[in-house]
């Protein structure tokens, strides 16, 4: 297959389906300056977060990796980094890491520039110039096998496992048949279904890795002496008919289709080209989607039974429901309705085709409901305590 769509070609050969100027605060202290600049310069996206200081070890590395990965995401055309000047995340190192993609990166710190007012004014000036350059870039035809799509579910109810997840799985199989990549995550939400995914890993080592990350997570729950129930399944999941994490997991895994699993990757790690990959990530919607975006996903397809407005900072999030009542009640937030699978008027194949068509339209530039509403959620998954 060598069908094409129109996308933005980056210096390193990556393909973007959006052309954002991303404003990255290296630390919570520069969030406000970044937000003000975003408000002043249309077309820019800021990613305020809670981290970047008082962090050590793997946690500090994770913050760096997620910020760098988000900057490297192919939907980002240029990056402006704003630091405070005394935090643990080094803005120069971050800029250098993102520059490896060949995209323009600028950075400065608020302490050197002389406070918030001067930083906002200086940053807005820089952002305006960078946006002007980005707007000159034209789209070119690119092959479908460049596309990487994350699959995620959230606000699940019984319809998720019965209709929207298997339908998304059919669309995931279509993308893999074109040579593209699918990434599935949510380690928490394969508990009780991991044996079915492990059977599909292409080597025994990858299968072992999958069991390892599930065991590691379950051991942590054990160590805390906590009962997952009440947290997961959530109260909404339970109201929707899901009784246990095992039931939820068995419904969750069908969203990645039937392809063999080519590898298990770390949170925010680069998603390889071609085939299906598992990212070790939490079930939490925003943390999981942010990890996929940092791994280079172009789009996340997100199924929901109960309904959720979730979007993401640098990637479109396509919302799919198999619950007719949810589609009707929350049409503002929903992109695709596959509820006809359950009333018997539509087939799994038709529902899969509808999602595949939506992926193609969104890749070609159609805005998702989350984009229309300005949803730019971003959150970094944490490992350890703050200092």
């Amino acid at each position: 297959m060598n069908r094409t769509f129109m996308g933005y070609e980056r210096a390193n050969g990556d393909i973007g389906i959006r052309n954002h100027l991303l404003i990255i605060p290296t630390v919570i202290c520069s969030n406000q300056v970044c937000n003000r600049i975003m408000q002043m310069v249309p077309g820019t996206v800021a990613i305020p977060h809670q981290h970047g200081c008082s962090q050590i070890g793997a946690d500090k590395d994770r913050t760096f990796d997620v910020l760098a990965g988000t900057g490297k995401n192919p939907n980002v055309g240029a990056v402006l980094i704003i630091s405070l000047g005394c935090e643990v995340v080094d803005p120069a190192a971050l800029a250098e890491e993102i520059r490896k993609t060949g995209k323009p990166v600028e950075f400065f710190d608020i302490q050197s520039v002389g406070g918030s007012v001067k930083a906002i004014s200086h940053g807005a000036e820089l952002a305006k110039r960078m946006m002007a350059d980005l707007e000159k870039q034209e789209k070119v035809p690119v092959p479908w096998n460049k596309l990487k799509v994350g699959v995620k579910c959230g606000g699940s109810d019984a319809t998720s496992g019965l209709s929207s997840n298997p339908a998304l799985g059919a669309a995931a199989d279509s993308l893999i048949a074109e040579g593209g990549s699918i990434v599935i995550g949510e380690t928490t939400e394969i508990i009780g279904a991991e044996h079915l995914l492990a059977e599909r890993c292409v080597t025994p080592e990858i299968s072992d890795q999958l069991y390892h990350i599930v065991n590691r997570f379950e051991d942590e729950v054990q160590r805390m002496g906590a009962d997952m129930r009440g947290g997961n399944p959530s109260p909404g999941n339970i109201a929707g008919g899901l009784s246990t994490i095992e039931e939820k997991s068995l419904g969750c895994i069908s969203k990645c289709g039937k392809a063999p699993i080519q590898g298990v990757i770390e949170y925010a790690e680069n998603i390889p080209d071609h085939g299906l990959y598992f990212m070790d990530s939490p079930g939490n919607d925003i943390e999981c989607v942010s990890g996929m975006a940092a791994g280079g996903a172009h789009i996340v397809c997100f199924t929901t039974g109960r309904g959720t407005p979730t979007g993401a900072a640098v990637i479109p999030v396509i919302k799919i429901t198999g619950n007719k009542m949810t589609f009707e009640k929350m049409e503002d937030n929903m992109d695709v309705d596959v509820s006809d699978m359950l009333d018997g008027t539509g087939s799994l194949e038709q529902a899969g085709d509808r999602i595949w068509q939506e992926i193609m339209d969104v890749a070609a530039g159609k805005w998702t409901k989350a984009e229309v509403l300005g949803h730019q959620e971003f959150s970094i998954n944490r490992i350890g305590p703050s200092l």
Binding site: A158, L162, S243, L250
Partner: protein
């Protein structure tokens, strides 16, 4: 685990090993509803009201037995369940992610 959805039933039955079917509409206690297995449409009279998306027992399950949906184990019965009963958090519980039970071994027993 194969997803088959066929129309013309009130509740969805996923696999021949399953103990439960999922309600495709709000259903009331006392009504006889239809689900489809390999032999065709089967009837079950409901003991409890079953909300849309919730599960109804289509075979009896003894206390302590595994409960199956999608042909896979979704938890364990904490009390005996009769045909037509609502199957949910009041009569089944998850076995996994149970730090409150002390150890994985204790949870598995």
């Amino acid at each position: 685990m194969e997803h088959r959805i066929e129309s013309g039933a009130d509740a969805l039955y996923m696999d021949e090993r399953d103990h439960v079917a999922t309600a495709l509409r709000d259903m009331t206690a006392g009504e006889t509803i239809q689900y489809r297995n390999s032999e065709g449409l089967r009837g079950v009279t409901l003991v409890d009201p079953i909300p849309f998306g919730h599960k109804v027992a289509i075979v009896a399950v003894e206390e302590g037995m595994d409960v199956r949906k999608y042909g896979e184990v979704i938890g364990r019965a904490v009390k005996s369940i009769v045909v037509g009963q609502h199957v949910h958090v009041h009569n089944i519980e998850g076995i996994r992610g149970r730090g409150d039970l002390g150890t994985k071994e204790a949870a598995a027993q």
